[in-house]
Symmetry: C2
Subunit: 348 residues, 2 copies
């Protein structure tokens, strides 16, 4: 039963996996609060996964979508509303919606299917919220220009450090400042592994434990070789530092070469080794971008973060040194960032 | 020479002391950047202090204002534009401006002169930015309702923890969440004193050092008895937790009773005593508000903060646990918060 006093926002969701499905769960759990606090009702008019789509202008039932995905099936099996084999892009093109929530798997080769969906949605005048790094790393300047041109918003506060509002702080709260330096621990896997290694495990043992706990992929190279952190640094450079950087601009060293001896030597100097993504302002106003294992002094705001925390530090000229961290024990905060972005757009 | 391509924002500044004067310095230093980055030019059309005012619709010269105040004089002595004895309220009433920057001394008895100036400015349809706790603690619900009614913004991101965007994070980045608990170290003086005491100084010795360094008032009671932290907690409750709290709702205990033995006992348990302002959500949705010396476990995000840092932790249902801290070694960040607020209003 639709409440006529609420403002209805029609959304289409691409990607109903770990992040997308949990986003739906958050939406469902928060429906009453969103109505009462903000006067908003979000209706899912379309959802697409790798096998097909479901669409209904009157709104899909969120618990049904969640149950289908929990059963390992495709949204294409949504009773009476499913479309086997319908591609995400076709769904975005066909559906009438106000906003695209793009949570398809991260693809750093060509950004698909997210990139095309985002382009199409912006082209149709839809707002876009996404934690998907791929399209942002590959096409940030193009997508932001397109959004400006069409007068819509492209928000992605979940793309850098899970639920931590690292980008929002940089874009909004550092307004007017010159950011002299930025340091981030945006990758949980490497923090977890280094944490375990500092407790005495070998690199291989720590990696195995990370994999067993689901915090490292079977092929961990994206994380342990530093590329995930580098991707996030590219997004920070583009969105916060106003520098149209690409991966080619980042000097990247992962943690695979970090030894027990390195960790012990750091400890003896009251330091902790973390995989730090940093941007240091140069005289010409651009930033030197680096991802590397870095021995941080114990008093450094990022030194004390555990293997379940991500963090960022902004060193500025007029706002002092501001740090922030998140303890994210499950993926709900990362999923909820799409709600945060939607509320940035729609709350009055 | 005015640049015609810039959007001119006319501001009036009440209070040209530690915060107000530094705000002017920041505005001056940032004029080129604000024009280039945001297309904005801020013109100070009026300034008032306790002895008088200066006003010029064409804009007062900021370096002249700063020099007059550095000399210990009143803005009323501004060459050709000064008005001896003109009250702040009269200035606000008389001047044509877009925004009021209110930085008069904190007055927790009746909020004056800030409160009347803010009321008058909002009544005239001006936006207001202020780090002044007095009017907010005494009249938050009234002022916010008035601002809504007039369609203007009342922003005060500097009222709680200096340059830390604690309120912005709470209002914007926790959108959609239920905040289960909030903890803050919003008072530098008590952090400094407890820090020194943990290094072996007596309470009296630590207080004397704080006073010598200018980080405690001659009469330190507002800080050491916990009332400054309580005031900030009231502002957080009203602005972030949506609870129309007053000081009467806060249980307040200062640090005057903290002994060396307390600190040692805490240390033996790997804890650190801090003056924590906390809000804990009750079953009825309201919050239990407390300011008290609290032994924090070493792993607590606020435990490691030094005597020059302020911090906040939000414990939420959907965004995990998010903490933030600022290292503020001089009052520039607190002063710059008025610029942050102005940019929140005027940047497009």
């Amino acid at each position: 039963m639709r409440d006529e006093r609420l403002c209805e926002i029609r959304i289409v969701l691409i990607g109903v996996g770990n992040i997308g499905r949990r986003f739906l769960e958050v939406l469902d759990r928060k429906a009453d609060l969103l109505g009462a606090r903000y006067g908003l009702a979000f209706t899912v008019v379309g959802a697409g996964d790798s096998r097909g789509a479901a669409l209904d202008p009157g709104g899909l039932d969120i618990p049904t979508l969640v149950r289908i995905k929990m059963d390992g099936r495709s949204v294409a099996e949504y009773p009476g509303r499913g479309r086997q084999g319908m591609a995400p892009l076709a769904l975005v093109q066909q559906v009438e919606a106000d906003a695209l929530c793009e949570a398809s798997p991260v693809n750093l080769k060509d950004g698909e299917p997210g990139l095309s969906c985002i382009r199409a949605a912006i082209g149709k005048g839809m707002h876009v919220v996404t934690p998907n790094k791929g399209p942002l790393v590959l096409a940030y300047p193009e997508l932001i220009a397109l959004a400006r041109e069409r007068g819509v918003q492209l928000l992605f506060c979940g793309a850098v450090a899970g639920g931590l509002p690292a980008i929002n702080m940089g874009q909004r709260d550092m307004a007017g400042a010159t950011i002299d330096r930025l340091e981030a621990l945006p990758n949980l896997t490497t923090s977890f592994i280094l944490d375990k290694m500092s407790q005495g495990l070998s690199y291989a043992g720590a990696l195995a434990e990370a994999q067993a706990q689901g915090c490292a992929e079977t092929d961990p190279s994206l994380d342990v070789e530093g590329w995930d952190a580098a991707n996030k640094l590219v997004i920070l450079a583009n969105s916060v530092l106003d520098m149209p950087a690409t991966l080619d601009d980042v000097s990247v060293e992962g943690i695979t070469g970090v030894t027990a001896a390195d960790l012990e030597r750091a400890k003896a100097e009251d330091r902790v080794i973390k995989l730090v993504a940093s941007a240091v302002r140069q005289e010409d106003g651009t930033y030197s971008l680096t991802v590397a294992p870095t021995p941080l002094p114990a008093a450094h705001p990022l030194a004390r973060l555990s293997g379940q925390q991500m963090g960022i530090v902004y060193h500025t000229d007029i706002y002092g040194t501001i740090s922030a961290a998140i303890l994210e024990e499950e993926p709900i905060p990362s999923a909820a960032t799409m709600l945060r972005d939607l509320l940035s757009i729609y709350r009055s």
